[in-house]
Every structure is written in structure tokens, then in C-alpha cells.
Amino acid sequence: MTPVHDVESLLRSALVPVEPSEALSDRLERGLSELTDAAVEELADWELSAMRDPRNWGRPAAAVVVGGTAAGALVLVRARQQHKRRHVSGLKALERSLRDVTEDLQRRLG
């Protein structure tokens, strides 16, 4: 009879963690980029003239929230891309990305 501790040892050997492929990381980054693009389009569709009607004020506010969410997705994507390209530390890449996104959002929101 196989003792329990032997089965546990076998399980540790059999169920090793599996590394995801680079292709998966790229797909994931693309998915997050799509979130970003959708939010940017949402913002672009709302020109300043629409703001004259108070009934529309809620919608751009929602778009800003979506834009913020999408910007976050962009942070993730940019942080990874910068890390890959420049081999700088993750923290520095993230700081740079956050700065980029902040400036980008401020520019878009006027």
C-alpha cells in the first residue's frame, strides 16, 4: 500500500506550476488595450457641445470613469512593454507609465 506521504510527494512532482507562454501575455495585453481603445473612443465621441444640455452631464462623467479604468489597463500594458524593451525595473516602468497616462488623461479631459 502506498503511504499517504508518498502520494503527496508524487502530487508535488506531478502538479508542478506551468509557465504561461509569451503568446498568452501578448494576447492579454491586446485585450487590455482594446478596453483602452473603447474608452478613448467613448470620450472622443462626446464633444464639448453635448455638455450644454444638463441631461447629458451624466454620460461624460461615466465615460471619464471608463476612461480611468481603461487608463489602468494601459498602465499594465505599457509597464510590460517598457519592461520588455528597456529591461528597466518594473517599478520605474510603472512610474513612467502612470505619468504618461496621467498626462494623456489630463490632455483629453481638458
Binding site: M1, T2, V4, V7, E8, L10, L11, R12, S13, A14, L15, V16, P17, V18, E19, P20, S21, A23, L24, S25, R27, L28, G31, L32, L35, G68, T69, A71, G72, A73, V75, L76, A79, G90, L94, L98, T102, L105
Partner: protein, 177 residues
């Protein structure tokens, strides 16, 4: 600007979660589904969904680790995967472990067969037992984390894992047909 600062903090935290647990989510998905292609789909959907609900999850977690929450999303997506397509896990995993495991040459053939038998045994366990073993051994989660991921008590989780190991042990003792 406060909202933006909050958003930046959330994004930083999500990036950390993603970096720390991409491999966990992928490993869980792979061992649940049994092939790399669909495991990639589940992993991708898990992180996209996690991103959408991250702010709330972080607030409700009260500082507890978010890995169980992440694995629960993958668990639900995997369950939908089977429900939608009426599929069961493939008994023949693509053997990531067996291929990558290092052994002395003389033990190689026997060792590989033993590990294949274990993987096959795991794939034949009931869903909850299989999942608990994957979380424990592939992801290194403790009883508390597994309990949160499976929405059970710690006591029930301990019993579940014990029974899963006993069942696997018995299946390994059965003579090969």
C-alpha cells in the same frame, strides 16, 4: 485629482496582482481544462474580468490576499466552459510536469509512468477534490486560501483534501488493466 490618484493606486496594485499570480491562474486553468489552448483562454478572461471588478474586490477583501478571489474567477469560468460545451477534463494532460521533471536516468522511465498515473488519477477525481488538489499542490495554497476559493469552511476543506488524497491513493493501488 484624488480620483486619479486612487485610480493610479488601484492600477499599481492590479499590476502587482497580475505579475504575482499570472502563473497561478494559468497553472490552475491548465490542470482543470487539460490543454494549453483553452487554459490560455480561461486565463485571459480571468484577468480581464478581475480588472473590471478589482476596485470592489480590494475594498471588500479588507487586506486579505486576493489570490483566492482570482482563482475563484478562473474556477467559475472553467465551470462555464464545461457547462457550455458539455465537456469533461481531458484525461491526457499535455504533461507539462512529466516533460519538465528531472530524474536520474535509471529512474526516468518508471518515474515518468508514475507521474502520468498520478495525473490521470487526479483527472478522474470528482471536480471539488481535483480542484482542491490542484490548488494545494500546483499553486501551494494553504487550507484557508483554498477554503475561500471554494467558498467552504477551513474544516470542510481539510476533510476534502484528505479524502481526495485517500481516493487517489486507492486508485493508484488498483492493478493496471
Amino acid at each position: 485629482m484624488d480620483e486619479l490618484a486612487d485610480k493610479q493606486r488601484i492600477d499599481r496594485d492590479f499590476t502587482e496582482l497580475y505579475s504575482a499570480h499570472l502563473r497561478d491562474v494559468y497553472s490552475y486553468s491548465y490542470y482543470r481544462i487539460g490543454n494549453h489552448h483553452d487554459a490560455e483562454d480561461i486565463t485571459e478572461q480571468t484577468f480581464l474580468q478581475a480588472y473590471r471588478h478589482f476596485d470592489r474586490a480590494q475594498r471588500e477583501s479588507a487586506g486579505r490576499p486576493l489570490r483566492p478571489w482570482l482563482i475563484r474567477i478562473a474556477h467559475n469560468l472553467a465551470a462555464n466552459y464545461y457547462r457550455d460545451r458539455s465537456r469533461r477534463p481531458q484525461t491526457q494532460l499535455e504533461d507539462a510536469a512529466v516533460v519538465s521533471a528531472t530524474h536520474d536516468t535509471e529512474d526516468l522511465v518508471e518515474g515518468r509512468q508514475e507521474l502520468k498515473d498520478v495525473l490521470e488519477g487526479v483527472s478522474k477525481l470528482p471536480d471539488d477534490r481535483r480542484e482542491a488538489l490542484i490548488m494545494r499542490f500546483a499553486l501551494g495554497m494553504d487550507n484557508r486560501e483554498i477554503a475561500r476559493a471554494l467558498d467552504r469552511t477551513e474544516g470542510a476543506t481539510k476533510v476534502l483534501i484528505h479524502r481526495a488524497i485517500r481516493q487517489l491513493e486507492q486508485s493508484l493501488e488498483e492493478p493496471v488493466q
